[in-house]
Amino acid sequence: MKPKSKPKYWRSLSELEGDSEFQEFVEREFHSPTEQTPLSSQGRRRFMQLMGASFALAGCRWQEEKLLPHTTQPQGLIPGVPVNYATFMDVGGVATGLLVKSYDGRPIKIEGNTLDSVSQGGTGTFHQAAILGLYDPDRSSKSLQGKTPSTPDAFDAALLDAFAAAVKKGGAGFFVLSQASSSPSLARLRAELLKQAPMARWVSYEAADAAGPRAGTQLAFGKALTPMYRPENADVLVALDSDFITSAFPGGIGHARAVASRRDPDQGKMSRLYALEASLTEIGSLADHRVAVAPSKIAAIAAYLDAQLSAGRAAPGAQTAPDEAAVGGAQIKKVLDVIAKDLLANAGKSLVVVGSGHAPEVHALVHRINFVLGNVGSTLQFRETGDTLAGGVDELASLVADMEGGKVGTLLILGGNPAYDAPADIGFVSALAKVPASFHVGLYVDETASLCKWHTPLTHFLEAWGDARAVDGSYRIAQPLIESVLGGRSELQILAKLLHLPKQDGQSVVRDSLGLSVAKLGSGADKAFRKAIHDGFVGESATALEVELQQIGAINLPASTDLEVIFEVDPALYDGRFANNAWLQELPHPLSKLTWDNAALVAPDTAKKYGLSDAHPCTVTLDGRSVTLPCLVAPGQAEGTIMLALGYGREQVGVVGGFKAKDVLSVGANTYAIRTSKAPHFALGAQVKAAGSRVELAVTQHLWAIDAIGKQGEDEREDVLVREATLGNYQEFKKQHPGHAAHGAPHPGDIKGKVHHPPKLNLWNGPVSYDGHKWGMSVDLNKCSGCSACIIACQSENNIAVVGKSEVARGRELTWLRVERYYKGDDKNAEVRQQPVMCQQCESAPCEQVCPVGATMHSAEGLNDMVYNRCIGTRYCSNNCPYKVRRFNYRNYNLEFYGTTPYSGTDDPRAKLKAMAFNPEVTVRGRGVMEKCTFCVQRIQNTKIQAKNNKRPIEDGEIKTACEQACPTGAIIFGDLNDKTSRVQAAHNKSRAYELLQELNNRPRVNYLARISNPHPELSTQDGHSSEHH
């Protein structure tokens, strides 16, 4: 059945073209429901192979359980009552403050620290998934000498000997390679090391190179500074190939919150957001205007903007405006003219951000633009870089040159995995073989560890003391949540021992650094230190510096070539360090919705031009090096570009990410193989050709497509699921309908779907009056960027199993919350709309009516309770759910992945360690059981009990669902609809609130707030749908 017209919102090219593949997805409730997955298939074997015959039958009756009390109860500890501890996670040398929930001494859930001045309680996918990383049995647990097991003492003895020998020569030949770091303690120990061994060298390397912005300040202001973006002050934001709101961007979580705070059409002045980017990104999902441009055009675009703006502000030393072809054509030039006009109109209240990977000259130019506009000081501030390590490619290249030249006698690698993620052209691996004494300290026995002479395990960040700086320069402190489970030691401990510090434990090292770096402490030091570890931070953000603009030379524009390759760190695996984390591997990519793989993303026209097709492998060649990976035809990708995600193709990490020696295939392809030190972000002059026949890609974009009474019906009614309006129309509507309440009342013309339905009648009278609590949720489509932190948070909170690639491809993934990604527009200039969908907790729920065993029941507070122990797996409920939010355990996924469940019991130490990640507050489901979002009912119940114990009412915002807590932009709000002052009530009363599939009269408790865009009048196009009713 082919739809009559092209849909306005579409999930994939196959839907846009209305081919049969998508039809099949919509019409079939259960995608391939009955086939059994062959056990030998790759995706399954990944987890299964290391499971021994460790499942002894426990007998027919439940086991005798033992109660093991403490011998002496620690003060203040109540068994079974979780305690939260503040700490932080450092990714790329920038700290994000966290609160970790510890259940009887076992960390089980990571949340954002609401006291944190930067992230303000938001988190990203990396932070949420760290719990699974902590309990990863593939982490290194033994020191190694070569391949033979050794001891930490032997490692230390060898390292100390090497250092002592180097110190005699003034330190010559002793090299340390670390990752990017802002840790004051590490800086202190580095200074101490260089004091004891002045000729030693300390080098840092990070694959996600963020040296550009800093080098840019050197050019623009004559001084290396660290930029601090303040998007909350910006009325106009321009993102030039910069997804600065992701967790992979330094301080991205804080930026996301700040950007979202200005995207509320009902409160304050709404900002306008332009995104010019090659691939679709999170900032592109939020943008009012999103334009696909190749990264090689960004320099010209910046120069063009500079020319326009400098003319407008009469600033000397401007670039000459490049011609139309250089910026990418007439269409883009038109957009740039409008942007320039808008920036000038909002001078001092605007912000231009360029991607970290771009050249220092481009950064300098963008700094200049902000300076000329008077944004420096309000939306953009600079602080001292201080003693932070940025981790540049050049540093690593010079180290490799020294290694090749025989100058490196001892190399101590502190974390990081350069043998895997170093640029392909500098030859790190071969150079490493020439180092006589190499020591590796790492979380895994990884690619680098196996090439070093010595290895010792590193602690996970939840196991160690540490410190670092947030993006605004304020000090963060980390405390261990648990004793090192696999016997690792932190970098600080190892260095303290190496340097013979008087106090060598992590706490003393951190505390001493704090005493030195925060002068205010003094006599009340102990109290101050305790407050610091309680809060997770000390002191204020760094002071903003005054800067003076220097003359910038004419910028070199990259030669225009046919095909360019873009390298980006993966939003889930980052630079590859999280490759063994199954939650992150199974997380659908926020834009491409690809799981368990990376792919070459190309625009439809580019694919056509080079004979590439979706899900068929292609070989990308760059400077004679090539990599073969599946092609994914991606709407919205800039033409003539190929986007390659880094972080995949690990050959030595573990049973999830890949381990060649144990016959576990890598997940995805290693794209570092063609990445060079000259062009780490984007490279020109690539070749691509098709290479072979179709492969399986586990893409979730089709799965769980909501069928609104047939696809054809949906096409006629267009925007029932995602609704949007422009700010102008919305404000006009609000003026005409003062005191408007959402339910049943009309929406502004372009929000309202063209749904015609008879008067809504109930099939039966609900027996429930909801006079106690009435839980509800609202999801603001104006704030959701699709980052997917909520998905991992939900997975961690609710013990949701990992199913593996082949099962995802069969539509059997279990995540309760999915983020729907809709494309809008044509496939060249596709825009994206993100929509998180969880159980809508209908008051008149279709699922409840069809369960033959009463396993899904309505609660007095309006929740659709799911009773796992009653479920017999008919799947009628899922069949009857129009929102497709129910998930079925086709196999015993938890047993397969963890090797155990709380009920099966095991003696396998690997399984025991993994099972520590389970949240004891939530039942672990087995095979044949339906499951779905519960609104985190365990949190509701526990808070209700606590509140009533203390004879007090529940405050609004006291119960936060896992998704709400994780959301960096505050798009999700949960609360009591009977509380007339609650935030969720206010959200439901907004004029832009709507229910999904309202015409079915299910009365869902989740309301969506329509997306209100704020387009520039000169760019707003009539997007082809009229406001009048049919």
Binding site: E65, P69, H70, I78, M857, K948
Partner: protein, 216 residues
């Protein structure tokens, strides 16, 4: 058209049916006998504990309040089993040489816990919270029986779902003033049901019967 012919073995169905009908009463009786016996519901379950601790002596004869040992009962879902230190508070001086207390002294010396055996063991998909009951005025005795008379603790009530629901649907007979929860001898001053109704009104007690109250 080809007619369907029953295969030869179908002749045996009658005999088999007879056998099944004869067996059914036996099966049903066995099913009910076993399924509803206290052995299955675990009433009377009385495992051997590592230390012959007598509740009858401590809680009954000496009248130590339940909360001296189970001190988190009004704050948490678990009514904590006391740490060894709690035992040693007294037994440093009282019977310091007793062989029966050897495991306790060993635990105090080594720091390894005494391995008590759990008596009241609910299925893992049930989330029971002690504090929610104790602070509302449900006495210990209502669910645990006369622990103050037990030499060795046994399970006194079935702890089945219907047993839980009986009280959640009709809590009045089991309500008492919250300060009397640990009093094993407490008697309602008036008719328990009407007195319970007053307490229910007073303390705003509305036990939910939603699935998610206990299952999640």
């Amino acid at each position: 058209m080809k007619l369907f012919v029953f295969p030869r073995w179908a002749n045996k169905t009658r005999q088999l049916l007879g056998l099944a009908m004869g067996g059914a009463p036996v099966y049903l009786t066995a099913f009910v006998w076993y399924g509803f016996s206290p052995k299955t519901t675990d009433v009377g379950y009385q495992p051997k504990q590592p230390v012959p601790y007598s509740h009858a002596l401590h809680a009954g004869k000496m009248g130590i309040d339940c909360r001296y040992c189970h001190n988190t009962v009004d704050q948490a879902s678990h009514a904590a089993v006391p740490p060894t230190a709690t035992c040693m508070n007294c037994h440093k001086l009282v019977h310091p040489e007793s062989t029966r207390l050897l495991p306790v002294r060993e635990s105090a010396a080594t720091g390894l816990p005494v391995e008590w055996v759990k008596v009241h063991d609910l299925p893992d998909y049930v989330y029971f919270n002690h504090s929610a009951h104790v602070t509302r005025g449900v006495g210990c005795v209502s669910c645990h029986g006369r622990v103050d008379q037990m030499e060795v603790v046994h399970q006194d009530k079935p702890l089945s779902m219907s047993w839980c629901l009986d009280c959640h649907r009709n809590p009045e007979p089991n309500l008492r003033p919250p300060e009397e929860v640990t009093n094993m001898n407490w008697k309602a001053p008036a008719d328990p049901t009407s007195y319970g109704a007053t307490l229910r009104e007073q303390n705003n007690i509305n036990p939910p019967t939603d699935c998610s109250t206990c299952h999640r």
